[in-house]
Amino acid sequence: MNLGGGQVVNKQSMMPGSSGGSWKSSGTSGGGGDGGVPDQFPSGLRVLVVDDDSTCLMILEKMLRHCKYEVTKCNRAEVALSFLRENKNGFDVVISDVHMPDMDGFKLLEHIGLEMDLPVIMMSADDSKSVVMKGVTHGACDYLIKPVRIEALRNIWQHVVRKRKHEWKDFDPSASADEHKQSEEPDYSSSANEGHNWKNTKRRKDEDDEADERDESSSLKKLRVVWSVELHQQFVAAVNQLGIDKAVPKKILELMNVPGLTRENVASHLQKYRLYLRRLSGSQHPGGMNGGFMGGPDAGYGSISSLNGLDLQALAASGQLGQLPPQSLATLQAAALDRSNNAKSTISVPVIDQRNIFSFENPKSRYPEVQSQHLTNNNSSKQINLLHGIPTNMEPKQFVSLHQSGQHSLGSMNNLVLIQMGGQSQIHVHSQSQTQSQAQSNVNTHNGLRSNEMLPRGGVVDMAPTVYNPVVSVSQASPLVNFSMNHKTDSCGTSYPLGGSLGISSLPTASSALQGDGNLDTKIPRKGIVPSYDIFNDLNQNRDWGLPDVGLTFDQSQHTIQSGLDASNPLLLQHNRSSGRDLGGQNRNLTSDKVVLSPGFESRIHHNGSNVGQPRNVYVKTENDIDGSCHNTLYSEQYGQDDLLAAILKQQQQEGVGPEDEFVFDGYALDDLPV
């Protein structure tokens, strides 16, 4: 019902509060005062139904039509995903079956959460508690038991409203007002609000990342905050800087210094991030690692952020990123690291691409751009976000998924990593989940640590595997990994290949910043990709992410990453350090504990033991880009990070624990890097 929407939209636009984003008519959804809720809402709600059972599909479609919703049905998950990707703002809610032959419903759920952040309702004839719980942990906003009754479908609009409201209110009402008008016209008219905002945001970003920071925020405000790569990176950097424990929304907000972003936005994102991390850790190692991680979920989280920060720096340093939207970069840098000067937007480049890749927006094309450093604003920003964004969870997942796709083990990882950058997850995509977590934490800590240098190698310590690692590395982060893996297919290329490339290229330049131990930190030009690039590398292998070059200037790592990546989710292989780098290849040892945590340095070089023993997946070392494959796993920055991580982790696990270190999230591995 675009029509309805369109009209409504207008109304909404008028109301600053109205949830703009929400689908057109949703005046109601709007957060704030949308008084002008169009009467039509929830009519015209655009629903996408996915179920391999044609009979059910037909019945559902009929029921939804009876509710006056607009229905699109498909019986294959892949098709559904492509629908969603092509029409970012085209749908308001997704209903998906759990058991499907081509893709598990939960995987689809994760993908959607990460890329599009739409409310997803799961359904199944299976009503066992475990399955329902799984739906919950993966972020489904509801779970319906088949046979589905029409009454159950009538109320699904509430999920749309809720989501919008949540995001919307994060934004400053006044700001949104402005945005609203702006966006509203172009956006609303064009597509569903939701999609629109997203689009807007994205669009803006693309256009002028730098200048647009403001726009972004504002557009973000409109309906909901779109956690672009850059934004997420900034976020992660801020969190890392503050430290997981201290990462409170208010402070994060201050650090990020993004106009138009509200504390609520940050709070909700933080929550997602934490969930993501938790998921990683939970899935991976309920035991030790988790303990560490869980113990400080924040910590882990922070670590991730720190990583991001580092990444950013790296990115900036590398200059390769180029595109990292200056603003975000700057913000990041300022917030996270001192490096701001280096931070050229370049860093974002890798990230963004990845992100794009993940989000499919610019899947491959982005990547190349990334390399060129200017990841095209979008890309870069996206990428960056990736790094920051999603807590490792995302990444791992991405990687995992990526990995699984078999394309790039690393790539997938990278993707994950990228994704982070992109926005949601910082996913450092480090080694498949395990490493990822580690990496992330590593990365994160690094970020924090390094204020100037990429990750003080010693600093990496922060990352203390516990922090993040547990989560990530745990369980092979299959969830994460899975994610990545899956993603890989999509984003494979995208995933962070940056990891390697970005990091690497930036390294050289960044090295100055990093210079520190040569640790990966510095080296890893964080190309925005969060150290987990390792993953990318692997992944990238297939894709050539523009990043690639990241040149891994790091002399070392690159290869490691790749190698590692291939092995498992190269999450973090990035570690350029060839020396230590185990990352690359193998490590994914996630098994070990996810060592990934890039502290990989430890592992890498000497595997301090902390690393799961496996070669620290130097992942993430972004620079390592192990071959530049910085796959831009750019996950759509906003994914349900949790999902990603989980996926990644899962994958990792599946993968057999690939390079554990992969997760190398941030540059920690850098240490190993022979800078």
Partner: protein, 150 residues
């Protein structure tokens, strides 16, 4: 009169399907979805169901021929088939499917095979009954039937 009689007949047939447990509430849901814009909706759905589910049944048949039996695969197949059957309200079929799955989890090959025969039997019986019912309904007019159904 004749018409009325037919209506009554249709109504009775329908009622017996419910009373005898062949159909359950879900079928009524389908009927409620039927309207003037889609007057044969229920029949279409049922036709689609029979067409699609034939595939599951043949897969199950094949899987049951294998030695040793792959119970998890059987369970998966049956789960999907059961989901389909449930969505049209095929009550007896659904019940037999549940029995089958129970035997699967108990890894009882004999039980599975036996139950599967029951599933097929119920499945076929229901089809015949529904076909007759639809035919009758068409004769009296779908809309009316729907009304009567209500």
């Amino acid at each position: 009169m004749e018409r009325n009689q037919m209506h009554t007949q249709v109504a009775n047939t329908r009622k017996s399907l419910f009373d005898q447990g062949y159909l359950d509430d879900q079928f009524i849901q389908l009927e409620e979805l039927q309207d003037s814009s889609n007057p044969n909706f229920v029949e279409e759905v049922v036709t689609l169901y029979y067409r699609d589910s034939a595939r599951f049944l043949s897969n199950l048949d094949q899987a049951l021929e294998k030695r040793p039996l792959d119970f998890s695969k059987l369970d998966n197949l049956m789960h999907q088939f059961k989901g389909s059957s449930t969505s049209i309200g095929a009550k007896k079929v659904k019940t037999e499917c549940t029995h089958f799955r129970n035997y699967c989890s108990a890894r009882n090959a004999e039980g599975c095979k036996r139950t599967f025969q029951n599933v097929k039997k119920e499945y076929t019986t229901l089809r015949k009954k529904l076909e007759a019912y639809f035919q009758m309904s068409r004769q009296v007019g779908p809309v009316e039937t729907a009304c009567q159904a209500r």
